[in-house]
């Protein structure tokens, strides 16, 4: 792998603040971001990403090629949790396998924006519709995860079917973070350039700084979580490192097949490789309470997320560069 890509990624404030957070936990520091602030930063990022994507989509318009990409994104988001489940069932019960499969089928918005910042630091941009793709990839895995449990876990079959449908839609589509990013995307799209100009000092100007701050908190939380995986054996950490690679390969292949432009292909690959730690845990906690959250949250937050932002992003960029030329 090209070391300049690795360096470009590592020498950025967001990544280094993530490392600082992890370091703070390692040395037993009492550094702490108050919970309401962490939640605000997370809402801010969704707001900013959505507005940005909506504006970009407004600029580029809705071509057929855009629609093809969006379709591919949705299909991938349905397929990834299915094969992940098959692999996970090898070692885990239905509930945990389904919850982890949903986690890896969905996406991480912060991984996405870190990849975007990585591109931007090289003066490159990606299509605004990739944000739409991201928003569309959040929910399908939740649906798949819940349905897998309903079909395959004996006890769950008895639960009333009516409630299921209503809950499923609410959790999958009106989940707070899904709703905020989709809503911001639509608002960014319909308010166009005047709307973007009005909010861009907030949504764009201070973005990297807010992202750095948020990643500081992610570093703290991820490092605290790492210990939860200690007692879980080697299978889950291995899955948490292997899944992004396999899913990235799937993403790359699909992007190649659809002849996406290089930067869109890169962002799509990152989406496939990333795993959710906000929307899906919230949904699984309610829909599959039998699964152990410290497993799926820790795998995604403490292993896959750091792996992707530190090694994955430059690696996927390297592969795209080779393959796309």
């Amino acid at each position: 792998m090209d070391t300049s890509l690795l360096a470009a990624n590592l020498l950025s404030p967001p990544i280094l603040f993530f490392a600082l957070g992890a370091f703070a936990v390692g040395v037993g520091s009492d550094l702490e971001i108050p919970t309401p602030i962490a939640k605000f930063l997370s809402l801010y990022l969704l707001f900013a990403i959505g507005m940005h994507g909506g504006h970009a989509l407004h600029e580029s318009g809705l071509h057929t090629s855009v629609l093809v990409t969006l379709l591919a994104a949705v299909v991938t988001a349905f397929v990834v949790p299915l094969y992940s489940f098959a692999i996970l069932r090898w070692k885990l019960d239905v509930h945990n396998a389904a919850a982890i499969a949903a986690t890896y089928g969905s996406i991480s918005a912060v991984t996405f924006v870190t990849a975007g910042a990585f591109l931007a630091s090289q003066g490159r941009t990606f299509g605004g519709h990739m944000v739409a793709a991201m928003a569309l990839m959040e929910s399908p895995a939740i649906v798949v995860g819940v349905l897998l449990v309903r079909w395959l876990a004996p006890a769950a079959r008895e639960a009333p079917r009516a409630a299921l449908g209503r809950h499923l839609v609410r959790e999958a589509c009106f989940n707070g973070s899904v709703l905020l990013i989709l809503g911001s995307l639509v608002i960014g799209f319909v308010t166009g350039t005047p709307g973007w100009n009005a909010v861009s000092p907030f949504a764009d100007g201070i973005f990297k700084g807010m992202l750095s701050f948020f990643l500081l908190d992610m570093g703290l939380v991820a490092a605290r979580r790492l210990s939860d995986l200690r007692s879980a054996g080697a299978f889950l950490p291995a899955f948490a490192l292997g899944a992004p690679l396999v899913n990235a390969a799937v993403g790359l292949a699909l992007a190649r097949l659809l002849s996406l432009p290089a930067t869109d292909a890169f962002m799509f690959t990152v989406l496939c490789a990333s795993a959710s730690y906000i929307a899906v845990p919230a949904a699984m906690r309610l829909a599959v309470p039998e699964a152990n959250p410290s497993l799926y949250v820790s795998m995604s937050l403490a292993v896959t997320f750091p792996f992707n932002i530190v090694i994955g992003i430059p690696l996927y960029a390297f592969l795209v560069r080779i393959w796309w030329g």
Binding site: V221, Y277, L286, P289
Partner: protein
Amino acid sequence: MTTVRKVEIVTASLEIEHVLEVLDNEGVSGYTVIRDVVGRGSRGARPGDELTGALTNSYVMTACSAEEAERVVAAVRPILKRFGGVALVSECQWVRH
């Protein structure tokens, strides 16, 4: 002062609406909720540092009659069974104003 029961329930924040519905249905005269408490129990830690509320608990307390307490306890038991948590009942004196 009247002797009443104090029922204290700790469960996942995401389920708290459900518990409050139970309290409303059983007709208790009121309740007090502390959001975003954290803890540890048979299902592991709920450290509350999650970026969503997925891993935090909430605490609900209601002062009610012994009969109401019994009905509340019966109604929240399945919620606690499925989503985890504790329910504690004790006796206390309510200062009627």
